[in-house]
């Protein structure tokens, strides 16, 4: 997207936020503004959640929860960060909570969770079927949840460390170290499992 298009989009987004935050806006206008915001971000948020939970149905549920929370808490958005960073943050928190609940519910250890996610990945029809991609995903699934989250945002979504820092509330230095460590682990896995 060009810089001009980005600026126009940012201005429009700001207008929708104002409409949502203004108590005098009627319900129809509010719904339209919310729908525009949702349409703008839902694909990126979906992709973000999907890479973390793997399962398509769980992703749909979490995406729904995320936007319900956006609607409910839009008054608390202070415009100190970009809206998509704020939505990413909500989605990330929802996803991490979901994974934690799942582990507790089934009493799973980290490696067992990874194995379960790998099985889901292999049977997923929407997974881009190349072998190397599958092995890469398997390698990523061996990482702890937060490290996986950082790696996905940096590697696949190509976010800046500063943006990731806002989302996961961690210093840039710590994120760099985390990403470096994740890369090393993934490369070691690939070396071992891919000829």
């Amino acid at each position: 997207m060009s810089e001009t298009a980005q600026t126009i989009q940012a201005e429009q987004e700001q207008k929708w936020i104002q409409q949502l935050q203004n108590p005098q806006t009627n319900s129809k206008e509010r719904t339209i503004a919310f729908d525009r915001i949702m349409r703008l971000h839902r694909r990126a948020i979906y992709s973000h959640i999907r890479k973390m939970v793997i399962d398509a149905d769980d992703t749909d549920d979490l995406l729904q929860e995320t936007f319900v929370k956006v609607w409910k808490n839009i008054d608390k958005f202070k415009n100190e960060s970009k809206l998509y960073t704020w939505i990413y943050r909500i989605a990330t928190n929802e996803t991490l909570r979901f994974l934690e609940r799942k582990k507790k519910k089934y009493g799973l250890q980290m490696n067992e969770t990874s194995e379960q996610l790998m099985q889901n990945l292999e049977s997923d029809e929407q997974f881009s079927g190349e072998e190397v991609q599958l092995i890469l995903q398997k390698a990523i699934l061996t990482l702890p949840d937060k490290q996986r989250l950082v790696f996905n945002m940096k590697y696949f979504d190509e976010m800046k460390y500063e943006e990731i820092s806002e989302i996961v509330d961690t210093s840039v230095g710590a994120l760099k170290a985390s990403y470096h460590l994740a890369t090393k682990k993934i490369e070691a896995y690939l070396k071992e499992n891919y000829q």
């Binding site: 719904t31 979906y46 890479k51 997974f127 881009s128 991609q133 690939l190």
Partner: protein, 166 residues
């Protein structure tokens, strides 16, 4: 193998717009449902509150009943204490008055009546002395004079004693 050697691409195919629209409609349904629940809750709480206000008068409320019961108990206790005090005072007065009635004025009793009483009853001299109240004029009575040993002269007394030991 390095990460750079792998072609970077999103691992999952993105669902079509219709799929996202379905999720959007689910979101609106959920929001509407929650709004309705919130509204129902508010309505219920308002109706319950008004029903409570209508039905329960303040004197039936437990707080008021508790305070009333405490005050009643306090009142009963105070009345009890007051009654006990006044009873004690009256019984003291009664006892005092009874004591006063027991102090008989023998001067007002005719001498003949006392004489008859003393003669009829088997009373020893000691008992008689203890029986006679102070300030009594009984000592001056004739019956006492007759039995008074002080009035017997020494000779007669010796004779009496001799006769006794014989």
């Amino acid at each position: 193998m390095k990460l750079e050697d792998i072609q970077k691409k999103q691992p999952f195919k993105m669902p079509d717009e219709a799929h996202f629209d379905t999720i959007s409609s689910k979101i609106y349904t959920q929001l509407e449902k929650e709004e309705n629940q919130k509204f129902d809750k508010k309505t219920n709480s308002v109706s319950i509150d008004s029903a409570k206000t209508k039905r329960v008068a303040f004197w039936v409320k437990p707080q008021f009943m508790g305070i009333a019961a405490t005050l009643f108990l306090l009142l009963v206790t105070l009345v009890g204490i007051y009654k006990y005090n006044s009873d004690t005072n009256s019984s003291t007065t009664l006892a005092t008055s009874t004591n006063q009635t027991q102090q008989l004025d023998f001067s007002k009793i005719p001498t003949e009546q006392i004489n008859n009483f003393l003669l009829d009853e088997d009373i020893s001299e000691n008992e008689l002395v203890s029986f006679i109240p102070q300030n009594s004029s009984l000592e001056s009575n004739s019956i006492f004079e007759q039995s008074d040993l002080n009035s017997i002269d020494a000779e007669s007394l010796d004779l009496m004693l001799e006769e006794e030991y014989l």
